[in-house]
Every structure is written in C-alpha cells, then in structure tokens.
C-alpha cells in the first residue's frame, strides 16, 4: 500500500515546483519548459455552473490529501471557491497532506467528528478506510450532472478508471470517483538516445540496454531503497502473463502453490533475473537514498528510468535546482509484451473522492464530486498540476503524452499499480513476503526459481499465521 501513497506524494510534490513558479533560478532552458503556461489563466477563469446542486445541505467538510499551496491544492481551492459561489454551500476544508488516511481519517472514524469528503488513491482508501467500513457507496454520483449541459459523471469518465474491482467495497459498490490518474513508464531523453525505436519484444528492450552500455552509459537508474519501485519490474511483466488481478489472486492463495502453478510467473522472474544479472543497473543503486539515483538519470549517467508519471516533473525540478542549462526532452514507453504473454496490460492508479459512512452532509459532498469533473475545473489538473485526469477530452502535457496514449490505447487491460498487491493483509503481505524476496531477486542474490519457490513457501507460512 505504501507504493501508491508514494506515487501520489511524489507526483504532487514534484509538481509543486512548477505550480509555484518554478525554481528560484530558472536558468534551465532545456528542451522542456520549466514552468507551465496557463496557470494564471486557469485560476482567473470564471466559474462554470454546477450541474447537480445539493437540495438541503448548506455546508460540508472536506479533508484534503493536498496542501493548500501545491498545484493540486490550488486547483481544488478554485473548485471549492466556485462551488460556494455557485451554490452558497460552505466548504470546511482542511489541507492535511498525503498521510491523512492513517493519521487523520482513520483515527477520526473512532469519534463523531468525521469529514464528509476526503481523497486519496483507491488502493490506500480501500485498505485504510473501506476495509473497516468507513465509506458509503458513491454509485449515485455517476448520474450527477457535471455542469456541461446534460453530461453526467458517467458520460465523461472511462469505465476503466472507476468500474474496477479495486474500487468496490464489500458489497460491490463503488467507493471512489477519480479526478486524477497516475501511470508509469520507462523514461528516456529524446535528445540523448538517438535513433530510438520503441522495443516490441523483451529482447528489443535488452538490446536497448546493451546499446546504452556500449555507449558508455549505465542502462537503468533505479532508486533501490524504495521497495515498490523495485517491485515494478516483476509486477509489470507478470501482470502481462496473468492479466489484471492475476497477481493479487496468486498472492491470496493460502497454500502459495499458485506461484508455481502458472509458468508465466517463473518466466517473468527469469526476465527480472536477466535484468538483475546483466549488470544494467547503475552502480550504487542498491545503496540508494531516494532520489539520488533518478537524479543520476537526469544527469545523463543512465539511459532509462522506470517510474510513474511524476518522473518528468521531479527530474525537471532537480535539473533546475542544479542550475544547469540542459533540460530533458521527456519521452516514454511501456514494457514490451514478453514472449508468450497474452494480456496487454497498462498500469494505472486513480486518485479520487470518497464519502465517509458517518458523513452528515453526503449530498453536498457528492455534488461537489461531480462538479470537480467539470471540464473547466478539472482542466487545472493538467494545466496547473502537470498531471493526467481520467477524462479523455482534456489537454495533456507534452511529457505525459506517451503515457496518456498508452493508458487510452485500444484493447488494453487496466491494472492497478503493482496489481494492488501492496494493500493485501493491511500491507503486511508485501512487507513480509514479497519485498524481501523481490529485492533479493533484483539484486541478483537469488535465482528466478528460488524467488518463485520462496514466494510459495513464505506465502503459505504467512497466511497460516496472519489473522487479517
């Protein structure tokens, strides 16, 4: 579960710089701009109409995962201002930051002072709040109007962003309506990698890496101190063999036998082993202190970097703080389809609003959710916060175009980051079973076979002793 938190935090914080007017020394005039145009334009634009207005509620409380002066905070601030202006409903907002679920919302659920509305990525909300029964369904919001004529929420959101198992509570009801979407990808600098051709097979991918090595660069930068960054390689490949939700199912197998029964898992592990033992990772990645290693990618020490859609803004900010004059022409590609894998999968992570079960003003809160999806409000997410939204009809920042394209490619299966493994058993499954073995695999300390056998054995042991 840790992972998603980090992703969101990463994305948001990294963007803070661009939103807040960039680095103090905006000398970094590279290929990519260091500040986003259109921030002021967005913030000063007139408020759109509210589609579905609350009938009775005159106020509601919103606890936010953002802080007031980061870009997303500014976008939400504008939404709140406009909502109050158009409906007269007062919004009591608390800007609490990313850890709000376990540090604020969950504890508050023990009392009667609860927020009506809060936000976070679906994995975390599900683990921390939905599991103990803290939310109410928001299916009805799908039919709320968003203030663009008769358009409803259902009309503008792709099903893949909300109608997924990971966004359902115990009764199969949806608990969250997304307004931001994270993706992940292999990043590279177009200016540095000449004659780049997107890899179609895993062999192509390794060829790219080998070429980088022969060019005198390290192939892959990887901040090895972050467990879930290390997990991406295996989960990305494996999920293409098993399909979305396949890994989660394997992990839930009490006997652990699921790991050995599907040959795709071993094949995935073998590919990771090849990556690990091929000497592709940059020296020192296994003694990393985030974000040192991704900075080395930005510095050009390595050719490729696999992280989420926050990668460009974080590294852009780093470069601007270094006072350098060379920016990066961001481009990205997805993992190629491994041999024999049948599922074309792309990973995503929706961030959205949820309503508490004990909410006193759910009606107003739900009206606000729908209003947030209004084009003129939601466009702040790409324009101000340099991030993706689930809506397909909004402009996309240049650096994220490849990711957006991958997410919306026809016929793809959408999986949650890490196939939501990080939320299993309150987060204990990854900590105790997966991360230790996966780290060893990635460091080349164990073979693919040992990894799979280890998972099977450890998992059996784990489920035997775990109560929840």
């Amino acid at each position: 579960m840790r992972s998603t938190n980090g992703l969101v935090l990463a994305a948001a914080l990294s963007l803070a710089l661009t939103g807040c007017g960039g680095g103090t020394d905006a000398g970094g005039g590279g290929a990519a701009p260091l500040t986003l145009p259109g921030v002021d334009e967005y913030l000063n634009a007139p408020c759109p109409e509210v589609g579905t207005k609350p009938a009775t509620d005159k106020e509601f409380t919103y606890w936010s995962m953002w802080t007031a002066d980061e870009p997303q905070g500014k976008v939400l601030g504008k939404a709140i201002k406009c909502f109050t202006e158009k409906t007269g409903v007062k919004v009591n907002v608390q800007w609490l930051g990313r850890k709000l679920l376990t540090q604020n919302v969950a504890p508050a659920l023990n009392t009667d002072t609860v927020p009506d509305l809060f936000d976070q990525d679906i994995s975390q909300v599900k683990a921390a709040i939905v599991a103990p029964g803290g939310t109410q369904p928001v299916d009805d919001v799908l039919d709320y109007k968003i203030g663009e004529g008769d358009k409803t929420v259902r009309d503008v959101l792709p099903k893949s962003s909300y109608d997924i198992p990971q966004n359902k509570d115990a009764n199969g009801k949806i608990f969250e309506i997304p307004y931001e979407l994270l993706g992940n990808a292999w990043w590279y600098d177009k200016a540095k990698i000449k004659d780049f051709k997107a890899p179609a097979t895993m062999a192509d991918l390794f060829a790219l890496f080998d070429k980088a090595k022969s060019d005198g660069m390290a192939a892959v930068s990887q901040d090895g101190d972050i467990n879930f960054y290390n997990a991406y390689f295996f989960t990305q490949i494996a999920v293409r063999y098993l399909g979305a939700g396949g890994l989660e199912k394997a992990a839930l197998d009490k006997s652990g036998a699921a790991w050995t029964s599907d040959p795709g898992l071993l094949k995935s592990a073998e590919l990771v082993e090849k990556l690990a033992k091929g000497g592709y990772f940059i020296d020192g990645w296994d003694a990393a202190k985030f974000p040192q290693i991704q900075q080395r990618w930005a510095d050009g020490d390595a050719a490729y970097l696999f992280v989420g859609s926050w990668g460009p803004s974080e590294t852009r900010e780093y470069l601007s703080k270094q006072g350098g004059d060379k920016g990066i022409e961001y481009a990205s590609f997805q993992f190629p389809q491994p041999e024999g894998a049948t599922h074309k999968v792309v990973e995503q992570l929706p961030i959205g609003f949820a309503v508490t079960a004990k909410a006193k003003h759910p009606e107003a809160a739900k009206a606000f959710i729908a209003y947030m999806l209004n084009k003129d409000i939601l466009s702040g997410i790409p324009a101000v916060a340099d991030n993706l939204t689930p809506r397909a009809d909004l402009p996309v920042p240049d650096s994220l175009k490849d990711v957006k394209a991958a997410l919306e490619a026809p016929g793809v299966e959408h999986a949650i980051f890490m196939d939501a493994l990080d939320g299993l058993a309150a987060g204990k499954w990854v900590d105790n079973v997966f991360y230790p073995l996966n780290n060893d695999l990635l460091k080349g300390k164990i073979t693919a076979k040992q990894f799979i056998d280890g998972l099977a054995a450890k998992q059996a042991e784990f489920w035997k002793s775990t109560n929840s």
Binding site: S14, D25, Q103, P107, P291, W310, E314, E317, Q322
Partner: protein, 308 residues
C-alpha cells in the same frame, strides 16, 4: 645534624619568568601505547564532531552541487548570486519552518515551565514531607520513565480524540506535560534530597508555614535543579517527533521536528537539499546556542540526576 645555612647569598640572577606551562608529573609523561591510541581516538572523535557542525553550518548556505562536490569549502555560489540566505528563506517560508518555529518556541517554553511547576511540588512532597511510603511512590513514578511513548500513543490518541484534543496545541501541551512528569520528578527528587534539613527546620522554628517554607526557602534553594529540569525538558520536547507526528495534523500546528519530518519527503522529491539542510539547521541551531550557553548546567544537572 647540620643546619642548612639559611642565608646562602644567592647569585644575582635575572628575574625568573614562570614557565607558561609547568612540567607535568613524570608519570603522566610516559605515553603508553594504549594511552596514545586513546588520545588519538578522542581527538579524532572530537574533530569529527566539529567537522559535522562545520559541515552543517556551511551547507546551510550552499547549493546542492556545492554540498556534494565541495563539502569542506566555504559556501560561495549563493553569495555570488547575491542570495546567501536562500536556503534558510526557503525553509522558513516555503516549508513552513517560520510558523513551526513560533509554535515550537511557545509550546516548548510553556510546556517546560508547566512540567516543572507540576513536578517540583511533587518531588518536594516525596522527599521532604516525611510521609510514609514516599520511596515507594517515587519508584512508582520513576517506573514511568521506562514506558516507551510508542506503547501509549494509541489509547492516548483515542482518548484525546474523544475529548477533541487531538490536532490541538493545547492537547499536545497536556500530553507533553504529563509524559515528562516521571523523568522530571525523578530528577528533582535528587535535587530536593540533597538540600540540607537545617534551613527548613530553622524556617519552621521561625514560624513560617509549610507552604511558605516551600516557596520562599526550598524553591529558591533548588533553583539550580529546576533550571536543569527546565532545560532538559526543553531540549527533549524541542526534538520530540513521534507524538507530534501523531497528535498534530494541521500545518499550522506543526512543531519544528514534525515539520522537518514532513519536509523531508517533500524535499527529496523536489531535490531541495539546500532547504532541507537549512531546515535541519533551524531545528539544531537554537538548541546548540542554548547548549553552548548552558552546557555546564545541563551536564551537572544530568549527572546529579543520574548519580542518585
């Protein structure tokens, strides 16, 4: 037996100058290998500490590149750009350390004073009122020192939340005061125990009421101990992170240590090493100044408490 002539005429010698440094005793001059090794180690260790301090101070004024490529050089890039305090300003305003600083100063000052105000009478009562079972009660309170905060934080949080005292500086204040009591009472019982009986007896013969004796005689006598307790608690609370992390959720209420903890994440995503180190410096330096001014008292106070 001869008599030494007391008046041997001494040759006139130019006025002798006392040596700047008298010779050490011959035994101590023998440098055994162990001693030599020990000395070298002590100086190395000390030098390392000084280096660390130097690094922290200079890095506060450096750009990230300088921090990593020229760790020993004096800062110059920000100075060249005419913005020498850039890191501190960043931490102070952008990362909210300014507000946190104020909050921390007030919270720590008020809490430390309150801790001493509550603990001093208790320590006095336990040591000097001659009530039976005092020793047992002192131990009963001292045991509290052994309870790690982590173990009480959950019920405490739930309880405080029910009273609407979470995410409130007043609630934080209550928690700080209460959880510091065992150590402070333990420390102060040591001080009160070491005071002479005579003054109190004299005061009672003079007809001073017990309450008056406490306020006008015992408290002033124990002033050294009270100040030590004040300072030690101030340092402890200034640096306290875990409770602040759990009890304070609103930026406006953040203490410095709490703000630093949060800022750490943000700073790493934003590659804000300069601001981060400035933040560390903002947390460390006030205590360093306090320490330099009061080192002696802190150290004597500690030893008095520990010696008992």
């Amino acid at each position: 037996m001869t008599v030494t002539a007391p008046r041997v005429p001494k040759p006139t010698v130019p006025p002798r100058v006392a040596p700047r440094r008298p010779r050490p005793a011959p035994g101590s001059r023998g440098l055994s290998p162990l001693r030599l090794l020990g000395m070298a180690f002590v100086w190395l260790f000390t030098a390392f500490n000084i280096l660390v301090l130097y690094w922290l101070l200079t890095a506060t004024f450096k750009t990230p590149i300088e921090i990593f490529t020229k760790p020993f050089a004096l800062p110059y890039q920000w100075f060249e750009r005419g913005d020498p305090f850039r890191n501190i300003i960043y931490a102070w305003s952008n990362a909210g350390f300014g507000r946190a600083f104020l909050v921390t100063v007030v919270l720590v000052a008020v809490s430390s004073v309150a801790i001493v105000l509550v603990s001093a009478p208790a320590a006095y009562a336990l040591t000097r009122l001659g009530v039976r079972g005092s020793n047992g009660l002192t131990n009963f309170i001292a045991i509290g020192m052994g309870i790690p905060f982590q173990t009480v934080v959950i019920p405490l949080f739930i309880g405080m939340a029910k009273l609407n005292l979470t995410n409130s500086l007043f609630g934080m204040f209550l928690v700080y005061v209460a959880l510091s009591i065992p150590f402070t009472v333990f420390l102060l019982t040591g001080f009160f125990r070491s005071l002479p009986d005579e003054l109190e007896e004299a005061a009672s013969i003079d007809g001073a009421s017990p309450l008056r004796t406490f306020f006008s005689i015992m408290l002033p006598l124990a002033r050294g101990g009270l100040i030590t307790a004040l300072i030690l608690n101030a340092i402890g609370l200034w640096n306290e992170t875990l409770l602040a992390l759990v009890f304070l959720n609103e930026n406006a209420n953040f203490t410095l240590a709490r703000a630093l903890f949060s800022f750490y994440g943000a700073a790493s995503y934003q590659s804000e090493y300069g601001g981060l180190i400035a933040g560390v410096a903002i947390v460390v330096l006030p205590m360093l100044v306090l320490y330099v001014l009061l080192a002696r008292r802190i150290i004597t106070g500690l030893t008095l408490g520990a010696g008992k």
